[in-house]
Symmetry: D2
Subunit: 417 residues, 4 copies
């Protein structure tokens, strides 16, 4: 492992918890160079909703590469891009009656967020953006400004301004009315709150600790934005592409955001791709006013289109995600109830699930115990206090069982001590 220690920056992180060298992966399994298999309930932090090296997508990718399909094309028109746009329209937008235009903002989720923020500010002429406690939107300067984690914020080296955090759903355990403070500040001409261009929100906060907003809260937020002329940006980078069940995580709430950020699993195969969907009336940019080199990675277009065709032509995946999600939810609840003194809380929606411990140390020890037993999970939350489950949506029922068994054992091994 010496070359990593010698050459790679100390900023590396996941390799510290999982100090093995991975080599191959298929579906829900990833293998280290010694052939040890790990059940992957981390799934590329949500970038591998269809599993590692999904065979159907793989075939489409190999065919495309083999026939010398264009690989890199910036924002030129390509056959692969046309296919992606048509498939997106046919499989996703049209059936949901969504009238969005598509920006290719750059390769990653932070690019989708940066483009969203830039556009919202340009359209409204306002600089300020409302974000939420424990939000995570990315590490580039614009995205970092609306991210909550103080350690990550301190990495900026400059004061992060133009964003004001508001309490996310259930921040006060549901005791106070939703949007109490936010709406009061908006309505009070003396509040000192800069008028916001936009609100940016995740429907379920993944990095923030698997905090799932209630659909009523989301509806209330959309309504508040509408009443005050504030653009609503849903960052669906981690929770979109079926993670919570439906393709878009906000569908359940019946809301239509002004701007939607997609990335991670939108490429299907783990190759970088990001989209920013915007209502047509927001499409005010000059040609080239936002650009970037990696906006046209055609192999990712190919796997993205294929993923939409394979998984979103019917509602099988959505149903399966809900069902498995409920199994996870029930099992985690059961674990929580089994250790009443430990004050565990099961959290989440769909296949974004978490088990909250009273400290980051405990959650970390449970994840370490799981790793020893061949299961990959990371922690999340402001203090790393939540054991986070983001398995591939394509995992089998047997893999659910296997994973839950390891989790039970791991929790027991830590809490029984």
């Amino acid at each position: 492992m010496s070359i990593f220690e010698e050459l790679e920056s100390e900023v590396r992180s996941y390799s510290r918890g999982w100090p093995v060298v991975f080599d191959r992966a298929v579906g829900s399994r990833i293998y280290d160079e010694n052939g040890n298999a790990y059940l992957d309930f981390f799934a590329g932090a949500g970038a591998l909703n269809y599993g590692h090296n999904n065979p159907q997508l793989k075939q489409a990718l190999l065919d495309y590469l083999a026939r010398d399909g264009v690989t890199h094309a910036l924002d030129m028109f390509t056959v692969a891009k046309r296919d992606l746009l048509e498939t997106l329209q046919e499989k996703i937008l049209a059936p949901r009656d969504l009238d969005y235009k598509v920006i290719f903002p750059g390769p990653g989720g932070a690019n989708a967020v940066e483009a969203a923020l830039k556009l919202a500010r340009k359209v409204t002429g306002k600089e300020s953006v409302i974000n939420f406690t424990n939000a995570f939107h990315g590490m580039t300067l614009g995205a970092l400004s609306v991210t909550g984690n103080s350690m990550k914020r301190s990495g900026a080296g400059i004061p992060l301004v133009h964003a004001t955090p508001m309490p996310y759903d259930k921040y006060f355990d549901g005791v106070y009315p939703d949007f109490l403070y936010f709406e009061r500040l908006l309505e009070d001409a003396g509040s000192g709150l800069n008028e916001p261009a936009a609100v940016i929100v995740e429907t379920v906060q993944g990095e923030g600790g698997i905090n799932a907003a209630r659909v009523d809260w989301l509806r209330g937020l959309a309504d508040l934005c509408h009443r005050h002329g504030i653009l609503l940006i849903v960052d669906d980078v981690q929770m979109g592409c079926g993670r919570t069940g439906p393709f878009f995580s906000f569908e359940e709430a019946g809301i239509v955001p002004d701007i939607v950020c997609l990335s991670k699993s939108i490429g299907g195969y783990g190759l970088p791709l990001a989209l920013t969907l915007i209502k047509p009336e927001l499409d005010v940019w000059e040609p080239g006013e936002h650009n970037g080199t990696f906006r046209g990675i055609n192999p990712a277009f190919v796997t993205a289109s294929e993923a939409l065709r394979v998984y979103w032509s019917d509602d099988e995946l959505e149903k399966s995600t809900r069902a498995k999600g409920e199994r996870f939810g029930a099992a985690l609840d059961g674990i929580a109830k089994g250790y009443p003194d430990a004050e565990l809380t099961a959290k989440g929606r769909g296949l974004a699930r978490g088990l909250e411990f009273t400290s980051g140390a405990l959650a970390g020890r449970v994840c370490a115990a799981a790793f020893e037993r061949g299961l990959l999970m990371e922690t999340s939350g402001p203090d790393g206090e939540v054991m986070k489950l983001l398995p591939p949506l394509t995992l089998t029922d047997a893999e659910v069982d296997e994973g839950l068994a390891i989790i039970e054992e791991s929790v027991k091994s830590v809490l029984a001590k």
Copy 2:
């Protein structure tokens, strides 16, 4: 083409100059869906230094995908990543006596720049950065702050601060001493210049109009930074990976930047990859203080490693790039001399070449004429007044001839009118 017009944002740009649908590509050629071939002197804006779908890289990629090598791995240790680090060390860093640590900052060049700026600010405790007139560093908020183009800056929707532009080399046609203003401001305790954390510079400004800084100027800049305790960041995203001849564009000047940004062609095949190289003493980040989903695209690691092995085990490519660069330079000079009234200027270094016209309209018409003749070139410069040539470094001598012939014809067709 209707789905593009219907669904894609108006921000799209290259598709306006080249209104065809591309499909396949090999080496220096790209083909539209009707089978028309185009000689590509654009090369993914510098992301395709080894040509489209380079056969050797393609084979390595197909093999890796076929054997289910891990595709997406964040910053976990992988066999493919180890190979990249070892190959980078062996083929690039060690032979040049460069002692850098490697950050995987995210998928694109803007991520490499954002990480560089964040780190420079964190290390120094200062916010301000010096950039140069007509710089281009990317579209995310931090990178955009140090980018010169006013149209792109206006896309931010917020005032871009913490950066002060200084005149790039030859900004005043060489009449005034280098760094006259910059150094005076630094030395004057009353100048009002915020003390800079870092200087960020391109050795040749691609988007800025193929402005090639003299090596003396670069040496002077490195010396100034050293004397004043300012970190020197070279953004080698477009000019690195051999574009000007040597692997790093700053080698010719004999300088060693504190931080180097790489992307575009570092992945070899056009897949997103970016690296930020830093001097070891700057490696002060906490684990995870900068992160991101697409930092471990292993297929790109595979093609990156293979590209280093194939093209950087000896100095063949470097020599060839210099030689072809000189051919282009001489030919463009000849064209310029052939139209004395048109006040054309040949510019550039290595295989980053330009022909400057007196207006963006003229340069645009020449590029359009070239497109009609089967040659892809874009314009650059603040008013788009520079016809920009970034052919694959692997183009053949015959392709040089072919391209130059088209260019001559295209210039003639426009200027003769």
Copy 3:
């Protein structure tokens, strides 16, 4: 009046509500050029706590001017300044056991606030400041950033950053626990709140609508600041110098702020003077790091010293202020109760009193009616909905009666319609 309309900027404001030309003034009375007398319950927006041209202060001033005492002295040592420092120490600081050093920050309250913010940021190395809803701290850029009024904020012409507003006491009518949101954000490492250098607060918000914080709330705030290592700045520019009874408005709460801003009535006679009091350990500035031309207006030092001697050698003024304040409070309550349908609310503490109407239009009409009857009062609050009483502390009981009679009539004349 034509020269005013011809030459003075449209930004003028008080002259619109009181369109007469004032000439002379003594005590609680101000006279226009036609000899009409007005009872002044505005008192220079709190700058005339001891009445207009207070005879004792006037004599000291005339004597000083007559003997050619230094008028303007920047921060040179002067006899008059020594007297002020000694008197401040003897009459104010020592009896209250307050250990403060004194900054002469410039002539006005905004200077006191700017100095406080600069110092708090310098000492802590943090940029962010917490202010409160409906705060008013001044019109210079630093002070304006922590001011709530949106109309005034929009005058800045740049985004006002580095401040986050928190709910002032009773912002939600006392239904929710104090500091609920503030403390939660501070304790949550993922909240996205930039760590604050300081909290700046008024104990009674004058411009904000005569909102008097409860002493328990103030104690809770001081405690919160202490626990979190946040500097507490009390802006006592309007509420200090006895306006609420004791010399400092925070005395009743038994708290000791880290920094106190004084201006308005500290000069005694209406001449510009401001002080920033700081705990000795905060005195980290370099000589001259903060300066300004009008920091040593010695005639104001003379009247300031005399005012401290005359009014703060015993507790007569404090007692009188409390007693008269209670009379006003009771009378305003009575008026409110007399118009149950009008939903009036009596507000305030000491001789900072208000009557809140349901709209700014109503409050404005009452103040206009009072002006017609010879009484000056302004409105305050975000929508101007509060009739604001800031009479000289030295008003007589007969003047209290007279003023209250006019107020009753004026309210009646408006509400009876």
Copy 4:
């Protein structure tokens, strides 16, 4: 002196160089408490152009106070204010054909600058302001942002943004064309310079080291601003009111700024007063959008009006200032020539004069030697290397002789060592 050391902040500055306690002052003389007289060539840093306690102004002031003229009136109409506006119009604006409206921005020069910057930004919708190397505009946050001195800037505790410094006249000793860099940046769409709302400039930089811009340079600047649609703000706080000869320091250049800042000597007697003069078309503020407590200090109005009447009804003062200024200039030149090895430079215009030494230490020792001999002068310039003379404009010829004799001796005592 113990109460000063005990109670006053370490930020005090002038008292360190002149460690005596001043008491009385008349004309060009100031006396300490022991009756020692000092010839004052500092004159309140330019606030006492008409000398200390000028008898004519004093009489007007005493009369006004004695008759209980209104002292403090915010922006209400008063007889004294009407007189000031009428006198300003009659004596200053009308004779010079200047069509300005008047803002009363607050008590001091920084307020005049803050109001100017706010208005320029509001009118243009742009945030950025161009300032000049070694500018001094004040200590409040907006004014400090456009001030050059790095020690004072560091007092802000936050990054000072929205300002870009350009080289002042002769910054490169006149070798390079004026505005070379500035104009090039403005014309280059890729320069990275944020489009400026305004330029703020002093015609002679007092704090910056008595740098007198040539009238050609000022004309060039006005022309550049005009051509590029940039508002020109002249900060005449220190150089206005006759300091360089004419009432406005820019008259000699024949330019008409869009905005003019006045303070210091505009009040005549050393009492705080400031004015911001604006072209009528810029008067776009809402009533009350900029306000402040000390905008209506009527005693200062009285002395201001009287000063205009006494000194600006004819051109006697202007002529005298020029003549005495030339005497000072010639004498300082003579001194400089007398010490060829010391590389002294005489600087300035009118009665703003300086003698530049090769170090701040030398200039400081000369000023200390002068203080021992009964003459007050301060140093200025980024390193305090300029001995600065700002005598009252009303000094007598005998006082010129006396002061010059002390200066000669003091220089000799230091340089002869």
